[in-house]
C-alpha cells in the first residue's frame, strides 16, 4: 500500500515469477513477447501458460517495436500527485505489429497530436537501475 508520504513516487512494476524475464528484457532494450509453440498465440501479458490453449511451451521473442495506436486518451487530471507534473500526457493502447495490444504512454512530442491509427515505435525508457518502461514515440510513416 502506498503511503501519502510516498505519493510523489510513481508506482513501479514489481516483477513476479511470471514477469521477471519481461522486465529483464526491457533493461536490455528488448520487448519480449511470449509465442506459443503449440497454437501460435502471441501474448504481451506474461503468463506461465498460453492463454488460449494452456500450453506451457512458450518462447520469448523480441518484438519489432513497431505498432499503431488502437486508441488513446490524453490525461489532464492525474491519478495522484506522482503524475501531476507530466500532464497533459497521452496514454496509448498500442497494437503491436505482432498482434497483441498493450498499454503504454507517449514519450516526447505533442500529446494532442496523437490520433487513432498513428504509427508508433518502441522507446525503452530507463526509470531506475531495475526498471525500464516500454514507451512509444510517434513515427512519420503512414
Amino acid at each position: 500500500m502506498i503511503h501519502p508520504g510516498d505519493a510523489h513516487l510513481k508506482p513501479l512494476p514489481q516483477p513476479d515469477p511470471d514477469s521477471g524475464a519481461f522486465w529483464a528484457g526491457l533493461k536490455h532494450g528488448r520487448l519480449l513477447l511470449q509465442h506459443c509453440l503449440v497454437c501460435s498465440q502471441v501474448q504481451v501479458y506474461q503468463q506461465s501458460r498460453c492463454r488460449l490453449c494452456g500450453s506451457e511451451r512458450l518462447e520469448h521473442r523480441a518484438a519489432s517495436g513497431r505498432g499503431h495506436v488502437h486508441s488513446y486518451s490524453v490525461v489532464y487530471r492525474a491519478p495522484g500527485p506522482a503524475f501531476k507534473q507530466d500532464t497533459p500526457y497521452a496514454v496509448l493502447l498500442v497494437e503491436l505489429e505482432e498482434g497483441p495490444w498493450m498499454i503504454s504512454s507517449l514519450l516526447g512530442g505533442d500529446p494532442m497530436a496523437v490520433a487513432i491509427d498513428a504509427t508508433v515505435e518502441l522507446v525503452c525508457d530507463p526509470v531506475d537501475a531495475r526498471i525500464t518502461l516500454p514507451r512509444f514515440r510517434l513515427t512519420a510513416r503512414r
Partner: protein, 400 residues
Amino acid sequence: MALSNASTRRDSLRGKTAIVGAGLSAVGRVPGRSALGLAADATYQAIADAGLPKSQIDGVLACHAFAAPFHRFSVALSEYLGIQPTFSNTLQVSGATAATMFNTAAAAIHGGLAETVLVVGGDSLLTGLSPELALRSMTESRDQQYEMPFGIPVANTFAMTMQRHMKEFGTTSEQLAQVAVVHREHARRTPGAQMTEPLTVRQVLDSGWVTTPYHKLDCSLISDGGAAFIVTSAKRAKSLGVARPVYILGGGECYTHEHVFLMPSLTTTGAVQSGQRAYAMAGYSARDIDVAGVYDCFTGTVIMMLEDLGFCPKGEGGRFVEDGQMTYGGSIPCNTHGGLLSFAHSGMPGALFHFYEVVNQLRGRCGERQVAGAELGLVHSLGGGFATNATTILGTEATL
C-alpha cells in the same frame, strides 16, 4: 425472441423471488456518517418498508466499501445491525457488484441457502476517505505492472473505449454532453439529488478536460450514500402482504477481461452477453422494457450500454440520446433519478441507486418522475473499464 435453455429450465430463478422493501440513506455530502452508518440507515428504512423485524433477515449480501475497508464488510455490517445471518458474502466485481448482488440473492433464496436476504451497500467517498485511502483508491485500481506505471486513471480506460467509439461510429462530444444534460434534468425532479442546477451542452463542453474525450461534466460524481433492499421468496412476499412486490425475472453476467489491453473489443462489451442472458431468463426483450437503470460512470458509457443492451442498434447510441429516446416520451426512459452523473455516486453502492429508482418506478412511487404504466424494468451495472457486466430484469406481478 427465442428462449434459451436458461429460461426454459424448470429450475430457473425467474419470478421465484421478490424485492419487498427498499431503503435509501441521505446521499451527496453526508458528513458525520460512516460507510457502515449509511448502510445501516438504508437498511432500517428497507426493513420498515418491508414490515419485517430485522431478526428475520437470514442472509446478507453487501458490496465492499473504500472508506471502511473491512475484509468482510457484510459481516461487519451484520454486527453493526445486531443480526446473525446464516448466509453472508461481500461481493467485489467493481461497479457491476450491484446487479450481481441481486442475481446472487435470487439464486441463494431459490437454492435454499437463505429465505430473506438483505442486499446492501454504503460508502462515504466524499467525506469519509482518509488521504491514505483516497490515494489508494486512485493508484491501486489498475494493474501495477502493465497499466499503472503509465499513469492510467480508471477514467482513462473508459475514455479509450469512447475515443474508439467516436472514431468508428462518428459519435460526437455534443452527444456525450447531451447524456449529462438529460441526467441533470432527471435529477432536478429527484428529492435529495446531489446536483440540481440546470445544465447545458455548452457548459459540459466548457468544463475542462479530465481525460480526452471526457470533460469534467462527462464524469460521474463523488458522493456519500447507501441503499438497501429486502429480497425474499415470492411465496413469502405474498404471505407478508406487501403492496406491489417487485419480482426478479432474470439475471445475466459476463466477465470478458481484467486488463483493458485484453478487452476483446473496445466498442462492444460483455453487456451484450449479460443482457442476452437476462432477457432469455426473463422471457422478454429490450423493446418490452418500460424503464431502465444503466450504469453511467461516464456519459459515453450510457451510449455504449444503450446499444449493447439492445435499446438501439450498434453505433447509433449518440443519435438515440440526441433524439430524446432515453427520457420521458422516448423509447426507454433511463436513469430517471439522475444517475451517477447527477443523483449520486458513492462507489460500489452507486448502482444500488439505479435499483432503488427502478424498484420505485415499478411500484408507482415516483411522483412527478413516474413513468406511466411501468411494469418491466432493467438495471445494468458494470465496472473496471467494462471488465465486469451484470444485468437484472425486474417486473411487477403482471409480468410474471
